[in-house]
């Protein structure tokens, strides 16, 4: 009952964001938080549930983003361009997965890192196609079902709809038999094989699904910025997406969203007041990991439970005193 109430309150709050904030700058910030939250959610499918650490997630932003822009410039309509972009980027994920999953653990991280850097390198070098260092502009935001999403609040709602659909799918994924097989393969791969599970295929499918949702986020990113350059798909971007999931709490559904919100806000809002916002982000990260090694969401949940138990005990003690 409380969960449904919390869900309804969350939904109302998300819907009311443009009214509450009013300021266009901050409404755009909210859209950005949602886009990064989707990136973080997608990487968390691998990281949190599958135990696979990827440092190449920005590669999907690169492939989906450039494909979307180039297809639109080539004259295709926005929907075709978006579908093409997501399909191409997901196919790339399928191929990247084949390469990365050959190596476990550290090798996996290094291969994803290398693949992400290759995408970055191509974007940087292929001047004729991507505009190189100068980047490339996306002609215009689409008009989904005839809705105009050029202004900040309507774009926010558009992003929110896509985000909620993605969140719903990823939530189902995390609670599904497949999700259970994935966490099993994370904790005891050898045992899972002995129980008849194809651990490699479970991981590969997860890799592709994560790539798909990252591609969706990549297209949203392009719609938001109407511009893409190699700086947006650098290693730092991949690392930030990874940090969002870890900061908020990998292996929880809400953790990556919280992490994305904190990092995006510090980067964009706090940076206008504090020059060394990078240092601040570093301090936040260190403090959270020191006191809540599993991230903010699991850490806060645990602290809340402890506090409630403490309160219950305090209530119980005076009642039992007269009996003694």
């Amino acid at each position: 009952m409380t969960r449904i109430l919390a869900l309804v309150l969350c939904a109302l709050a998300l819907l009311a964001v443009p009214w509450i904030i009013g300021n266009e700058f901050y409404v755009n910030m909210a859209s950005q938080v949602l886009i990064y939250a989707l990136f973080a959610l997608s990487i968390n499918m691998m990281l949190g549930y599958g135990g696979m650490v990827s440092l190449g997630h920005a590669g999907y932003l690169g492939i989906a983003g450039y494909a979307c822009i180039l297809a639109t410039i080539a004259g295709y309509d926005q929907l075709t361009a978006a579908i093409f972009a997501i399909a191409l980027s997901t196919a790339a994920a399928a191929f990247f997965g084949l390469l990365s999953l050959r190596a476990p653990g550290l090798g996996f991280i290094m291969i994803t890192l290398a693949l992400g850097q290759i995408v970055w390198g191509i974007a940087y070098r292929a001047n004729d196609l991507t505009g190189g260092d100068n980047g490339i502009r996306h002609p215009a935001r689409p008009m989904p079902f005839g809705f105009d999403i050029r202004d900040a609040p309507s774009f926010y709602y558009f992003t929110l709809v896509v985000f909620v659909i993605a969140l719903f799918f990823i939530w189902r994924f995390s609670r599904s038999p497949f999700g259970a097989s994935l966490t099993g393969a994370r904790d005891q791969p050898r045992r899972m094989r002995m129980l008849g599970h194809n651990v490699w295929l479970i991981r590969w499918i997860t890799f592709v699904m994560a790539g798909f949702w990252a591609s969706v986020a990549g297209v949203l990113y392009v719609y938001y910025n109407l511009f893409l350059s190699p700086h947006a798909i650098s290693l730092q971007q991949s690392a930030e997406i990874l940090l969002m999931a870890i900061l908020g709490g990998a292996s929880t559904l809400t953790g990556p969203i919280v992490g994305a919100a904190i990092i995006t806000l510090v980067k964009n809002v706090v940076s206008t007041y504090v020059e060394r916002w990078n240092t601040l982000l570093g301090i936040i990260f260190v403090v959270v990991i020191m006191f809540m090694p599993y991230g903010l969401v699991p850490g806060c949940t645990q602290a809340w439970r402890r506090w409630q138990n403490h309160r219950k005990r305090r209530k119980a003690t005076p009642a039992s005193e007269p009996a003694q």
Binding site: P177, A180, D187, R193, L195, H197
Partner: protein
């Protein structure tokens, strides 16, 4: 002649220069209870790992009811009716007991690929898991976390997970290791209750239980089969004494 449930022929495995399994051949008939004994380092668990595919053999063949298993990945062998328990407990410690058994059931169920349905809504899986837990006397513990159970309960959970898959060939790697006398009795009764359509190969050091349980015994020493025969034959064989008692 009936096909053997398990037919191992000329199986060899080396770790660097050390031969762990040397030209091992053995044949286990359907429904048989086979015991494998031998001193520490005799290659008993290695033999199990070669049969399941956890390790790749250098040479030889392993057949399950006539079907060649060599070159087949572990999970495929499991789908053919192979199950095992581990000497060192290999469970999902942060999950509930029921969830452990459900993972075992999912291993042979097409639903394991479903990323959309809610796992806990698959009532039949949980009912089946509870039945398996009841069989090993853990019905009351189904909703407990593995990390909060006793060692004896975990041993029985290992067994429940293997039995839940209704295997044709069951490999038991020291199912009594680390159990108290009372727990041993309970697990022994459990093993005795396994129907004869399951063929069992067991590694065990508890000789009282093992000898009472098995019909035929294979003695391994330095990776080689040195004696094989019925209970009486193996116990009477001087080579068995040599291995266990020294010259």
């Amino acid at each position: 002649m009936t096909t053997a449930a398990l037919e191992v022929a000329h199986l060899s495995k080396r770790f660097g220069g050390l031969p762990a399994t040397k030209d091992v051949s053995l044949s286990v008939m359907p429904g048989e209870r086979r015991l494998i004994i031998g001193p520490n380092g005799a290659g008993k668990t290695t033999l199990f790992n070669l049969i399941t595919g956890d390790l790749t053999a250098d040479a030889g063949s392993v057949r399950l009811f006539g079907q060649e298993l060599m070159g087949m990945p572990t999970q495929q062998r499991v789908h053919l009716g192979l199950a095992r328990t581990y000497q060192i407990l290999t469970l999902f410690p942060r999950e509930r007991l029921a969830h452990n058994v459900v993972l075992s059931l999912l291993g042979l169920d097409r639903r394991r690929w479903n990323p959309w349905s809610i796992l806990t809504a698959n009532r039949d899986l949980y009912a089946n898991a509870h039945a398996s837990l009841e069989r090993v006397g853990l019905a009351d513990a189904a909703e407990r976390i593995v990390a909060e159970t006793s060692y004896g309960e975990r041993r029985r959970l290992e067994l429940a997970m293997a039995l839940a898959q209704k295997p044709k060939l069951l490999l038991l790697d020291e199912p009594l290791a680390g159990l108290s006398q009372a727990e041993r009795q309970a697990v022994r009764a459990l093993l005795d209750a396994i129907p004869r359509d399951v063929t069992i190969v067991m590694i065990e050091h508890d000789m009282d239980t093992a000898l009472a349980f098995a019909e035929r015994i294979t003695v391994l020493h330095y990776g080689e089969v040195i004696v094989e025969g019925t209970r009486a034959e193996v116990v009477a064989d001087p080579r068995t004494r040599e291995v266990y008692l020294g010259d």
